[in-house]
Amino acid sequence: MIVETLTSPVILFFVLGVFAALIKSDLAIPEAFAKAMSIYLMAAIGLKGGIEVAESGFTPDLAAAAVAGLGLSFLLPLLAFTLLTRIGKLGQIDAGAVAAHYGSVSVVTFVTAKEILTGQGLSPAGYMVAVLALMETPAIISGLLLARRGQPQRANAESSGLLHEVFANGSVVLLVGSFAIGLIAGKDGFEPVKPLFDTGFRGVLCLFLLDMGLIAARRLVQSKKLNARLVSLAIALPLINGTIGVAIGTFIGLDVASAAALGILAASASYIAVPAAMRMALPEADPGIYLSMSLGITFPFNIILGITLFSQLALMIG
C-alpha cells in the first residue's frame, strides 16, 4: 500500500513540483489556471459528498463524525499552543496564530487523501466532506482566544470584519454550497454534469498538486523564520493530531476509511482560510512562522507520508 501510494501519479506530480522548486526551475502554472483548478476541485469534492449523503441519508455516523470534527477543531489548538510555547518557545500571539492553523484543515490534503484511499478500495463516507467544512473555522476561534487570553477586547468593527472573513471565505462558501447542491440534485441530477466533475478529476488533481508542490517548496526555501524546534513541531503536530483523529474516529465507530480521513483532517493544517483570518485578527503574529510551518513543512509531510501513515493506523486499530 505504501509503495502504491508513493508511486501514484497524484503524489509523483507533487514531488515533481517540489523538485522543480528546489532546483529553481522556471516551471510555473499560470495563476488564473491554478485558481480555476482549485475552484473545480472544491466544487467536485463538495458535489460528490452531497450526492453520497443524498444516497445514504443522515445517519448516526454522520452526526458522530460531525461532533468529533467540531470537537477536534476546537480542542487541537490547545495541545498545539502548549507545545508551541513550551518546546517551540514562541510567544503567546505567535503560538495562538500557529495553533489555529493546526486545528483547522487543508482541503487539498483531504482531496488527495480521498482520491488515494478510494483508489485502494478504502473510500471514506461522503459525509466527511461536511466534516471537512465544519472543521475549517472553530480552530480560528480557539487560536484567537489563546492568543488574546488576558489582553483587552478588540473593537466590534474588527470582530465583524473577521467574522465575515471566516464565514464568507471563498473556499468555505464553495465547499458548503456545492455540497448542498449535490444533496439537492442527488445522483440523477448529477448525471448530466458528471463528465466534467468526475472523469477529469484525477488529472486535474495531478496538475494542481504539481502547482502546490512548487508553492510549498518555494515557501520553504524562501523562509527565514524556521528553526529546528519549529521544524520538528511542524512534523510532530500532524503525527500527534492525526493519531488522535484516527483513534477518535475508530472509537466512535466510523468505518476504517472514514476514521483514516478524520485522522488526516486532524493532521492537516490550514494555509488558505486561517492565514487570512489571522492576518486580520492578529496582525502582530508573524506570517513567516505560521505559513512556513503549515504550507512549507506540514502540507508536504502529510501528502507524501501522512496519508499513508494514518490509513495504515486506521487499518491496524479499526
Binding site: 488564473a32 491554478a34 472573513e165 496582525p283
Partner: protein, 103 residues
C-alpha cells in the same frame, strides 16, 4: 500651459487582508480616493515572497492615494502606530497634479 498643484502621493505596501482597515483610516481623514495595485513578488528583511492565487497566503497590495498635505499628515499620524504590527511599508512623496481641487 495647464496649471498644476502640489499634492502628496501616499503609497502603502500591505498584506491584502488588511487593506479594508487602511481604507477605513483613509476615509476617517477624508481621503476618498484610492487605487489598489496587485504586487507579484518581493523581498525584504524576512526573506522573499511570491504571490499565488491559490492560497492567497502571501498576497500583498499597494494602496495608492493622492491627498493634500494636511490629509496626508493626518493619515500618517493615524497609521504610524500600526507600521510595525501590520508590517507596512509607507512612503509619502511630492507630486504635481492637474485639477487639484479633486484631491
Amino acid at each position: 500651459m495647464i496649471e498644476t498643484v502640489s499634492r502628496k502621493r501616499i503609497e502603502i505596501l500591505v498584506d491584502t487582508p488588511l487593506v479594508p482597515r487602511l481604507i477605513k483610516h483613509a476615509r476617517d481623514v477624508d481621503i476618498s480616493g484610492w487605487s489598489l495595485i496587485h504586487v507579484d513578488a518581493g523581498g525584504g528583511r524576512d526573506g522573499a515572497w511570491q504571490h499565488d492565487d491559490v492560497t492567497g497566503a502571501a498576497a500583498k497590495t499597494i494602496i495608492l492615494m493622492i491627498a493634500s498635505e494636511a490629509k496626508a499628515a493626518a493619515l500618517v499620524d493615524a497609521i504610524a502606530p500600526l507600521l510595525d504590527s501590520y508590517r507596512l511599508l509607507l512612503t509619502v512623496g511630492d507630486v504635481q497634479v492637474v485639477r487639484g481641487e479633486r484631491f
